[in-house]
């Protein structure tokens, strides 16, 4: 094995070590510590000058009682479940909205496609935070949407959308839409038109050709898009805190509260570690799916 190859293989592992495993080890270490009023606000801290003995003593003081604590209070698993529910519903909604857009883009003529692609990506040029903020202006009681609906006479009372779960769904679907559109579009664009022609020649209606040919062939894109939306939506904090009401319980918010209101870094870290474990399952599934696809393509 030559040096170049070794370098190529080691680089991703070094990357993983530096930006994933080491930070994770630090968080896990804090999760195993105890709360203290000090700088930093937990104990024990590792004293490198004490050498091996110091390290042994440090390890002996770590324990998993913060994880046990998470099991004692219904708040934590209710929040995990509620986050899962919100993430699942938003993923489905995003798929329903994104698929027709991606399909339309793939059907558009060649010269239009780059423009349409650009339009999907364009919102990213504005800060995510500002885009979420602007929804407050649209959805609030005195916002554009209610003003418009009142003006048309469809409603007499402003709709209460802002600060409800529905506003959270709107926010998530809007923010993550491009992550769903792009992989589906990529799958649909590769689709061989002659397959549809063949299906129609063999007596398929346009609709059944879509369900029997187009949709199954776009499934890899659909799965990729769903993971890209589901995973960040699960740990979402900004959207529920800006658009959601007080009763929107999500694990990101619980984590924030543990960290900032209770100043309990160890419990906050334990919540984060558990969240990571929950996320690893879909990430592993996602990877398997990618791999299977790669093998199928070879």
């Amino acid at each position: 094995m030559n040096l170049r190859r070794l370098f190529l293989i080691l680089t991703p592992y070094a990357w993983l070590l530096l930006f994933f495993l080491i930070p994770f080890a630090i968080v896990l270490k804090i999760a195993l510590s105890d709360y203290a009023i000090s700088i930093p606000p937990y104990t024990p801290t590792l004293d490198i000058s004490a050498g091996w003995e110091g390290f042994k003593e440090f390890v002996s003081e770590l324990d998993a009682e913060n994880f046990a604590f998470l099991a004692t209070d219904a708040l934590y698993y209710t929040a995990y479940l509620s986050s899962l529910k919100i993430a699942l519903i938003s993923t489905v909604l995003t798929l329903v909205v994104a698929y027709p857009i991606a399909y339309g883009m793939a059907q558009a003529s060649q010269e239009w496609r780059p423009t349409l692609m650009m339009l999907v990506i364009l919102p990213f040029w504005t800060s995510f935070l500002i885009r979420v903020y602007s929804w407050i202006g649209i959805l609030s009681n005195e916002g554009f949407l209610n003003q418009f609906l009142l003006w048309t006479g469809i409603i007499n009372e402003p709709l209460a959308i802002m600060n409800t779960q529905n506003a959270v769904y709107i926010g998530i679907v809007y923010s993550y839409l491009p992550f769903m559109i792009l992989p589906i579009y990529a799958a649909l664009e590769k689709l061989d038109e002659s397959l549809i022609e063949a299906a129609e020649d063999l007596g398929c209606s346009k609709i059944s050709a879509f369900w029997l040919v187009t949709f199954p062939l776009s499934i890899p894109g659909v799965i990729a898009g769903c993971f890209l939306v589901f995973i960040p939506a699960l740990g979402e904090f900004v959207i529920p805190s800006l658009l959601g009401g007080s009763d929107t319980l999500m694990i990101g918010k619980v984590l924030y509260e543990e960290f900032f209101s209770n100043r309990d870094w160890p419990v906050a870290s334990a919540v984060a570690v558990v969240l990571l474990l929950i996320l690893i399952v879909p990430i592993v599934l996602f990877q398997r799916n990618e791999q299977r696809q790669r093998e199928a393509n070879q």
């Binding site: 700088i39 930093p40 800006l242 509260e257 209770n262 309990d264």
Partner: protein, 361 residues
């Protein structure tokens, strides 16, 4: 105290000409100073002032407790300050470097001793109260002409809240602010430390929570000013800021701030020097500069908050010193209370109770 925008830190760097010049790094609440003062400090002392802002005590505390924040002067609120002193986050002030200490107001100094015994670590910057902001016309429309806008009953009596829910109510998302108020409403000790007493607020708050559109600590400024909500239980200066914004926008929204007659929480934002401040000497110069009577007055005239500087009062504009919402009369002041920090165990129970009240879980 708290300001709009979720901006974690908007940096206003005033004149950074050479890297070798002396620098002092100040970390204060956003929209909390007359920026001309920053230029003036540079002119008078020749020290480069790097002025940075935050919008929540929690953000500041996290930076302090993580260590190595790089700031020379920070401005936490009283309850946070006292815990941070315990954690060893600050250094004692060298009072020989602070000749302007003689300008300070003893009435305020006495109260801040609760957080910082002997005022050894901190000097007051601004203070205010937590009370009721109302869109007066909308509230009267809903509750009638004799709406109890100067009473805690407005926000803690479910009968009132049920009606107000139609025009929108916001409350601070801070148990440290709402629970003492609810205890006062119940006639309990506002600074109760035992959880059994604190727990008594649960039925009161659970009964009104469904009518609160949102518990949030800064959105109410805009929401009040735009007319999206009609009542906010929040900080004095923020409500006054909403009042000014509404007046500027000329949108027909009229905002008033009321200190509840049952009593209200008085809070203090205190200037202090982190234990690892790179330029403690410059930090003292900055604090002394702010304690100058005219400078303190300029800051208050700009931000519409009361300061703890007695000597500055002769330089205050009439619409500041004369406004009882900013400088309440003596009787009202005697009715204002302060609170102390709960111990970590009670604090955890309170945070848990707060989540239960807000989310029902």
């Amino acid at each position: 105290m708290k300001r709009t925008l979720l901006s974690v830190a908007a940096i206003v760097a005033v004149g950074a000409f050479s890297a070798s010049a002396e620098e002092v790094h100040v970390y204060n609440w956003s929209d909390y100073i007359d920026e001309e003062l920053l230029t003036k400090f540079k002119e008078e002392t020749g020290i480069d002032l790097i002025y940075d802002v935050f919008d929540s005590n929690e953000i500041l505390e996290t930076k302090l407790l993580a260590g190595g924040s790089g700031y020379d002067v920070v401005v936490p609120s009283g309850t946070f300050l006292s815990r941070q002193i315990q954690a060893g986050a600050f250094q004692k002030l060298d009072k020989s470097k602070l000749p302007n200490l003689s300008n300070m107001w003893d009435a305020i100094q006495e109260r801040t001793e609760k957080y910082d015994p002997g005022n050894e670590y901190s000097v007051n910057y601004m203070w205010g109260s937590t009370g009721i902001g109302v869109n007066i016309n909308k509230v009267k429309e809903v509750l009638g002409e004799d709406a109890p806008v100067d009473s805690l009953a407005l926000v803690f009596d479910p009968a009132n809240m049920e009606k107000l829910a139609s025009c929108g109510v916001h409350m601070l998302d801070a148990p440290t602010e709402i629970i003492p108020a609810a205890l006062t409403y119940l006639g309990e000790e506002s600074d109760a430390q035992d959880y059994e007493t604190i727990e008594k607020v649960e039925p009161v708050l659970t009964a009104i929570a469904p009518y609160v559109q949102k518990f949030h600590s800064s959105e109410y400024i805009n929401a009040l000013a735009n007319g999206d909500i009609c009542v906010a239980f929040g900080w004095s200066g923020d409500v006054l800021q909403a009042r000014d914004r509404a007046a500027e926008a000329d949108n027909g929204v009229e905002i008033e701030y009321h200190i509840p007659k049952e009593g209200a929480l008085m809070w203090f934002d205190q200037m202090a020097i982190p234990v690892d401040a790179p330029n403690a000497d410059g930090a003292h110069k900055f604090i002394n500069f702010i304690m100058d009577a005219q400078n303190a007055a300029a800051a208050s005239n700009y931000v519409y908050y009361a300061n703890g500087n007695k000597a500055s009062q002769e330089f205050l504009n009439e619409d500041v010193i004369g406004d009882t919402a900013i400088y309440p009369d003596e009787e009202t002041v005697s009715n204002l209370y302060t609170t102390t920090t709960w111990d970590p165990k009670v604090n955890r129970n309170v945070t848990r109770l707060w989540t239960k009240i807000k989310s029902g879980t």
